[in-house]
Subunit: 314 residues, 2 copies
Amino acid sequence: MQIIITGGAGFLGQKLAKALLKNPIDFDELLLVDVIMPGVPLQDDRIVCKQVDLSEPGVPETLIRPDTGLIFHLAAILSSHAEKDFDLGWKINLDITKQLLEACRKRKPGIRFVFASSLAVYGGALPEMVNDMTALTPRSSYGIQKAMGELLVNDYTRKKFVDGRVLRLPTISVRPGKPNLAASSFVSSIIREPLHGEQTICPVDPGLGLWLSSPDTTISNFIHAAKVSEEQLGNWRSINLPGLGVTVRQMLDALEKVAGKSTLDLIQFKPDPAINNIVGTWPHKIDNEPALKLGFRIDQHFEDIITQFIDSES
Amino acid sequence: MQIIITGGAGFLGQKLAKALLKNPIDFDELLLVDVIMPGVPLQDDRIVCKQVDLSEPGVPETLIRPDTGLIFHLAAILSSHAEKDFDLGWKINLDITKQLLEACRKRKPGIRFVFASSLAVYGGALPEMVNDMTALTPRSSYGIQKAMGELLVNDYTRKKFVDGRVLRLPTISVRPGKPNLAASSFVSSIIREPLHGEQTICPVDPGLGLWLSSPDTTISNFIHAAKVSEEQLGNWRSINLPGLGVTVRQMLDALEKVAGKSTLDLIQFKPDPAINNIVGTWPHKIDNEPALKLGFRIDQHFEDIITQFIDSES
């Protein structure tokens, strides 16, 4: 079997590839594709990396082989970027998803198709506790595009063109590396930069609630999503991955506990309306029960998430 | 001001045009467009009819003039048709909607854009009473495409590319003419054909609940949607138009009352799984309050709806 990861050069794509190479899922080829050449995550004969532009007509079809069994579709334009470059957001977040689903339908119906969606599909006037039956009224183009992608994957699944699994990701923290073009980039920066002894800006109020998942838990949930049976999933395939609810203040308290009070001095509070307009509309309490029943994992404490990040860098 | 109606050859398009010509909305041109040449609904110098294929690249842009102020986007592939012809459904129900919104954005941002959606955006395991915050989990490609169109119109509105108003139409009964390719076509046929002394088939159980709006009420609500202020509508522009909840049995009881017992003998019950798979997933109780507060109209009794149909034919 061949497995494909789109967005294979990204943090999640690379980390997922590493996990798959160590995991008991049996496969012959793991194809990483991205608009920039993906790095080789681990030396392994099964890894193939390709630089391709999935938005070019016909390209998605060239990737799918008779033995393609699983696609992780992670390629995306992130929230702040999609808000600034409206056309690019539509092209990558929606059009490519459609083209990839069409390629599956034409070349090999029934491929297991794991789609990375986001809690950003929620927005506006939300109930205290969001659940699977809460309407999607996103207040960002990224959220709209992901919500539309979810509907696409669900319809292609109902028609048996793919076997879709839609994962609504909590905000991921702590991401390694540099800030990215997600409106939620600060959710990693306010921990990562102080741990590196660097100054950083927190663009939101310390009282803002967030809904988080650690990188390890997220990757483990991607692999679980590929394994869980169709019978367990039922007809509607959009899943709120379990998250941990914390305020920015609680994150910083945990940082102080783990790394000392001096780390907090590196954080400057400077409200950014563009970021608040997006992140401020996201939910910070989602019903975890349906996903936990399906066997998805959850983080227990934000301190553990910080420790996970420190360990990953050592 | 120019007003455009897409799907202008259809029953709703023609009826809306007639109503606009008699209505106090002030305009210079009423352009009806459709893939077949729209008929002239009333002799009036302001009417222009054009046969155009909106799915041809560039065509939507040619329609919009500097004085275009209002578009009613009614063009659609109906539910059973979109289920059978998957590609055509996407092309007309989604792609054209996007192209039309893009044309507004490029040619004249801010045009009032009234989009005909449908209660078919709901489906699956619904609560007893559906409301504005109920998730859209449609079980038909038509419902998926309309749900995606709604998201599009909302995002183009947020970006101020159009001033969108999304109307989720109840099932319309009684439509005149012939059965169409909507899965709900029988909802008109079981009244219309017996009134004409013709036999008809009811493909669902008499206990099935439906959510209805009469043609007159629907058209009146389209015009109201074009008039209601942005302030009243708020940020999220999807509106459940008020409906009347009835079972098929109640509809037939009303038919008997209005037209006599012999009309019921013309109806043969013959379940059709393809129709039940679509119509059986639609809601039959939706919270009317938000739309009534905005000033939209509602039908009171199904008997009045039958009388409205009889009067319209006389």
